[in-house]
Amino acid sequence: MKFTKDHEWVEVTGETALVGITAYAANALGDVVFVEVPDVGKALKKGDSFAVVESVKAASDVYAPVSGEVVEANNELPNSPDLVNAAPEGAGWIAKVKLSDASELDSLMDRAAYEAFLDTL
């Protein structure tokens, strides 16, 4: 699993990757009550907002950690947005993306680097 400074994660399997928000981000948001998942087929550019996660208090953009095409969205989330709190780095994944530039992964942090980054916040 790789991580961004905006607290998204990517888990690559072959040519596709699951993306979501980290446990740190989910905890910071508080109770997630609504998730707007991207449409299948949507083209993502690294850094673009591609989903929205909402708590009681506020709506927060989720930024694409990699470029590519959405091949699947987590259809559990519209009915069970609390999955993002319960299992942010597992069942609370947001979208499956077909990578268009695997080299983008090199600029992301591994878990040790991400945890070191969290310590600086």
């Binding site: 009550v33 009681v56 709506a59």
Partner: protein, 374 residues
């Protein structure tokens, strides 16, 4: 409101306790305040089912005393304070010269010649300056900087209060009085900002920590942050200054006519009365409404409200998910012609329209302990 300025944040005397309880502290109206402890949803539900304890000491507290205190208050507001009996509380508004709303207040009369005011934190410096410059006759004005304000809210608040200040439990909704807690004078009202039965308790800072601790020893009580305070007041349909109203709105637009006494309207001595009369005669461009969001994401402050034909009607001023109802709710402004309960329209979120319908307030029925009729 003023959350972005660079001056150092003030804190209430309970700040260390919030941090020790694990609160997430955020800047609010110049103070560092707890936005949540265990989580907004859990705190919201706890308040609706049991009793929530809020530190609202950032709000301004003041006293007006003297024979002319009524005249002073009436010169600033649309409310008949001569008609407010001792032991009663009234919601009121601080008005500018054209009837624009400068703040909303809770005014109590715990003593015959003494009024006790609670005003919004973000407005208190302005309000106190205006009051100090408007004193009539023998009115004496005292800002109560040395007092904290705790709100105990929820259906079980009375059971908790029974052990702390049993005499206060004899009050009904919108009653107030002077009581003794831990040997000190407490101004207590049976009111709040959640739609539930409850109490607002003003005590000297010296005992605020001890009272907070004592209330929290009751298993019926949990600390509640500003996050749930906002979702609770929204469900109760209560306006928040800086959102549903500011100097650009009148009480006619904001649907706060209950803050205006009929006697004052008939007497015609309310600031900006001509504008108010015109608006109340039907010349109103916009009015506050309540929206039930039928599907889609929460519509938050700033979301456009649009007619089914696409015409922009107004904007959402507060909105979010209702933990009690399970759907999203909002308040906002539309022209009177579109304001009838049952009117279907759309709210726009991130550029997409989602269906909504105008409903009546409150969204969630209140639980006030009202005096029985008759």
């Amino acid at each position: 409101m003023a959350d972005t300025h660079d001056t150092p944040l003030k804190s209430t005397v309970l700040c260390d306790r919030h941090v020790a309880l694990g609160a997430r502290m955020v800047p609010f109206a110049g103070y560092t305040m707890p936005v949540q402890y265990e989580g907004v949803l859990a705190e919201h539900r706890w308040t609706r089912e049991s009793a929530g304890l809020f530190d609202v000491s950032h709000m301004g507290q003041a006293r007006l005393t003297g024979n002319d205190a009524v005249a002073t208050l009436e010169s600033l507001t649309p409310t008949d304070f001569a008609a407010l009996s001792q032991g009663k509380q009234k919601y009121s508004l601080l008005l500018n010269d054209t009837s624009g709303i400068l703040d909303d207040w809770m005014v109590s009369r715990p003593e015959e010649d003494g009024f006790f005011l609670v005003v919004n934190a973000a407005c208190k410096d302005q309000d106190f300056e205006i009051i100090a410059g408007s004193l009539i006759g023998d009115t004496r004005f005292e800002v109560l900087d040395g007092r904290s304000l705790l709100a105990l809210q929820g259906p079980k608040a009375k059971d908790v209060m029974q052990s702390v200040c049993p005499a206060a439990c004899a009050m009904y909704f919108m009653d107030c009085g002077t009581f003794e807690i831990m040997g000190e004078t407490a101004f207590i009202s049976r009111s709040g900002y959640t739609g539930e039965d409850g109490f607002e308790i003003s005590v000297p800072n010296a005992i605020a920590g001890a009272l907070w601790d004592r209330l929290l020893t009751d298993p019926l009580v949990k600390p509640i942050g500003l996050g749930a305070r906002d979702s609770l007041r929204m469900e109760a349909g209560m306006p928040l200054y800086g959102h549903e109203m500011d100097a650009g709105y009148t009480l006619a637009e904001a649907d706060l006519k209950f803050a205006m006494s009929k006697s004052r309207f008939l007497r015609g001595d309310i600031k900006g009365i001509d504008r108010l009369k015109k608006q109340l005669d039907g010349h109103l461009d916009r009015v506050r409404v309540a929206l039930k969001i039928l599907s889609g994401p929460p519509a938050r402050e700033g979301a456009p409200i649009v007619a089914r034909d696409g015409a922009v009607l107004g904007k959402v001023t507060s909105g979010g998910p209702s933990p009690t109802l399970g759907y999203s709710i909002a308040m906002g402004y539309v022209p009177p012609a579109e304001s009838a309960v049952g009117t279907e329209l759309d709210v726009e979120v991130r550029g997409k329209p989602y269906p909504a319908v105008i409903v009546s307030l409150p969204f969630v029925a209140n639980g006030y302990h009202r005096k029985p009729k008759g």
